[in-house]
């Protein structure tokens, strides 16, 4: 390598307007994904506030029951398809190419198309609030026959728009998955073998493979649902010889693995961040990496655990209980590996680290209630009750969203070139952790007592825990304020970030902050060791000190 280009040309200051157009730069698309996702996060969150407002009293007195059903349906749909999947795809876009030393994604234009489908189906879904009859009201599972009842009989109705939006979301996710899998498999830096790849990329590869396997089932199931709804077929209509339970198989064959699509990258985030902030290598790197694929394999054969009370045979109950239980093993291995990483470390309790630790606590709790749910007799009592809602929100908000916040704070300086504010970040973390636990813990006793989910009114004996849950939800709503304040103000006028403010090891930290459009360009460093070499003194890449010197010089000159 030569340093003939020294001193490097400072990149022209890029205009923020590039975020509004059809960019093919994965780093721009990544931020487009994340900002779009948080726009819908606010809408979904607002709906959650209405839900908890309704449930703060036993009677259905805040909104009409049909409105409540529409709101909880849209809350779930928006949060999953318009917040959590897009925000994770945003992180994938930012991190995958920079972590493996690729200049961009394998198919940049496919990437653009996949992103721009998100606002399209987002508008479709939000638009369904305004069609006659209102949006879909059958829950995010959209089980027939209730989902195909179509009371007004219009061809364009909330439910049909919902199905189209979900199908488009599937198309977008498949396009994204093709791109991520190809990029990770084909575009790694020289020397970066699979077992020198950061765990985040392992988990992204695992999660996106799941998308490729699972999504066709959901999309097929959704098309049949649309046919039943709009064109009079009887795939799921019992009076025409169809079987409503069939839909549940199609739905859960994808939608259970979908939870792993969400949580696996978050495991990746934990695996990246714990080493940085405890200054130790990841404990058992190889096993942690492989465990992601064990989870993929098992995750594909557990879907019937969502259907234990649906009328499935006893052997299915036993079999799917056993497979579900087994998932606790690779997952437990990861948790132990993180604890092993923390053990004897030199912990730095920065905002991202606090989010990771909080997320880990919530995740372990969710894992325990998950094993309870796997055991058939308990599941039969608590399935479709608030116990499941509590478990699910511990996984998705308590663990996944907290992990995503950790990732945002951790990589914010890399991709914006600015440092987020620690004080606001820690306040955000505290409010999130307290709010989430206050919101979701009371759901467990409610479920055990027998309060079904999706109810717009309930018996007075459930009032106590519901009031607490609602207060927690409002606190969670408040927790978003310091986050937004932090993101906006630090992006505009936060202190400038150095190329490696956390003293982290990884290819992305050998790029300037923010990285140039083609990342390393022609000068992709050669990887010579495993990631997470904290304390080993081994460099990650060839000529690492030269690269670092150059980056430092560049910062001094800027």
């Amino acid at each position: 390598m030569t340093i003939a280009t020294f001193p490097p040309e400072p990149p022209p200051p890029a205009s923020w307007t590039r975020y509004l157009g059809f960019s093919t730069d994965a780093k721009v698309i990544g931020i487009q994904y994340i900002v779009t996702a948080f726009f819908f996060f606010l809408i979904g969150g607002l709906l959650a506030m209405v839900i908890r407002g309704e449930l703060i009293t036993p009677a259905a007195d805040l909104v009409d029951r049909s409105v409540y059903n529409g709101i909880y349906t849209m809350h779930g749909t928006i949060m999953l398809f318009l917040f959590i999947f897009p925000v994770l795809n945003g992180l994938n876009n930012l991190l995958t190419p920079t972590m493996i030393g690729a200049p961009d994604m394998a198919f940049p234009r496919l990437n653009t198309a996949a992103f721009w489908l998100v606002p399209v189906f987002g508008l479709l879904l939000i638009g369904s609030f305004f069609v006659p009859g209102g949006p879909a009201t059958a829950g995010w599972w959209s089980y027939p026959p209730v989902s195909i009842q179509n009371p007004l009989g219009h061809l364009i109705n909330g439910e049909s728009m919902w199905i189209l939006a979900v199908a488009l979301s599937g198309v977008s996710s498949i396009m994204g998955a093709v791109n991520f899998v190809t990029t990770i498999l084909r575009m790694r830096a020289p020397g970066m073998t699979l077992f020198r790849m950061p765990v985040f990329c392992w988990t992204a590869l695992a999660a996106q493979s799941l998308q490729l396997i699972g999504l066709p089932a959901l999309t097929g199931g959704a098309v049949m649902l649309l046919m039943d709804l709009s064109f009079g077929t009887s795939f799921y209509r019992p009076e025409g010889g169809g079987d409503p339970v069939l839909y549940q198989h199609f739905f859960w064959f994808y939608s259970h693995p979908a939870v792993y699509v969400i949580i696996l990258p978050v495991f990746g985030i934990f695996s990246e961040l714990f080493p940085v902030y405890s200054r130790k290598p990841l404990f058992g790197y190889v096993y942690v990496s492989v465990a992601s694929f064990i989870i993929v394999g098992l995750g594909l054969v557990v879907w019937v655990h969502h259907m234990f009370p649906s009328g499935v045979a006893q052997w299915m109950r036993d079999l799917f209980m056993a497979t579900t239980m087994l998932i606790a093993v690779p997952t437990g291995v990861k948790v132990f590996a993180w604890l092993g990483t923390l053990w004897g470390g030199k912990l730095r309790l920065t905002t991202p680290m606090l989010f990771c630790i909080g997320g880990l606590v919530n995740f372990v709790f969710a894992g325990i209630t998950g094993v309870m749910l796997a055991t058939v007799p308990i599941d039969i009592h608590v399935s479709n009750t608030y116990f499941v809602v509590g478990h699910f929100h511990y996984v998705i908000y308590g663990a996944a969203v907290m992990g995503i916040f950790a990732a945002i704070y951790h990589w914010f300086p890399k991709f914006t070139g600015r440092m987020p504010y620690e004080g606001l970040g820690k306040l955000h973390c505290l409010l999130t952790f307290v709010g989430a636990n206050l919101n979701f813990l009371p759901m467990h006793p409610l479920g055990l007592m027998g309060m079904p989910r999706r109810v717009s009114s309930y018996d007075p004996e459930f009032a106590f825990w519901n009031v607490i849950a609602s207060l927690g939800a409002f606190l969670l709503g408040v927790s978003v304020i310091p986050f937004l304040l932090n993101m906006i103000s630090s992006w505009i006028r936060g202190p400038r970030a150095t190329y490696n403010p956390w003293n982290a090891i990884g290819l992305e930290w050998l790029l300037p902050s923010p990285p140039p459009e083609d990342n390393f360009g022609e000068e992709v460093p050669t990887v010579i060791s495993r990631p997470y070499g904290y304390g080993t003194g081994e460099p990650l890449v060839e000529n690492q000190s030269e690269i670092e010197k150059r980056l430092q010089l560049q910062e001094v000159l800027a």
Binding site: A138, V146, V333, L339, V361, H381, P445
Partner: protein, 312 residues
Amino acid sequence: MNSSAPSSINRTAVLGLGLWVALLVLLSHWMGRQAHHWLPVPASNAAPLVDGLFSFETAIGTFVFGAVLTVLVWVLLFNRAEKYDESDAVPIEGNTRLEVIWTAIPFVLVMAIAVYTMRVNHRLGVLGPMEHIHAHSPLEMQGGYPADRLPAEQIEVIARQWSWEFRYPGRKISSTELHLPVDQPVTFRLNSDDVLHGFYIPAFRLKQDVIPGRAIDFNLTPTREGRYRLRDSQFSGTWFAANQADVVVESQEAYAAWLKQAAEQPLQNGLSVAVQEYAERQQKRNPGWATVPPAPPPQVNVPGSPNLPHDA
């Protein structure tokens, strides 16, 4: 650990750890006992089995959660970097023996739970053989008693948007309040007229989806007298939340008396909160989003009341 440390420190550490584990075990045991109080009163022969399993898993879960939390609190207290300490920690990259152990322990643990559960499953055996039935004939819609094809001790349950109807075949009784004799096995035949519903009585710990186009036989034995809620547990549309009924478990004598009294009552509108709310809703200028209108209330001998105090 420092190899030059005197063995007395090691002994203290082992002792301390042992004490802490013992404390955690005690706490877990206590939580396991507490778990019974988080559930509704047990009112069927299935309930003790389910509650026992839940208590067992609560205890194990408490231990696991407590252990993880202990490690986390420990590192947060004692493994924080000193201020201005920018150095790295000792690079431990893994430990194969430890990794094997912590794979084996959860594996054995979850498999043990699974085997225990399968035994409970088979003892419960609540789900009877399923058969597909043809869509209801018009005859059935006219308030007859088509359930005479069932054995006498069966109760036919018909779920609708949004009401529950219970038919006692052979006795020509129909009700929107379920009455059961205590300590007698009973078989339900679950049918739905429209969409999926969930037949869920929390005090019995049992739940079964009711699937249109299928008749599902479902067995249980109530074991405690009292008034309990039956709740629809599978989302069924607008008045899903209001689709509840009361289950009265009573002594043989009281049950016989109820049957006798019920047979004398004329047919009348059964309980359907949805029908009542729908009528009020139609009066409003802006009634909300589109809804399927509720099915007319079933014609029953005993409607029951939605507002009586219930045990669970």
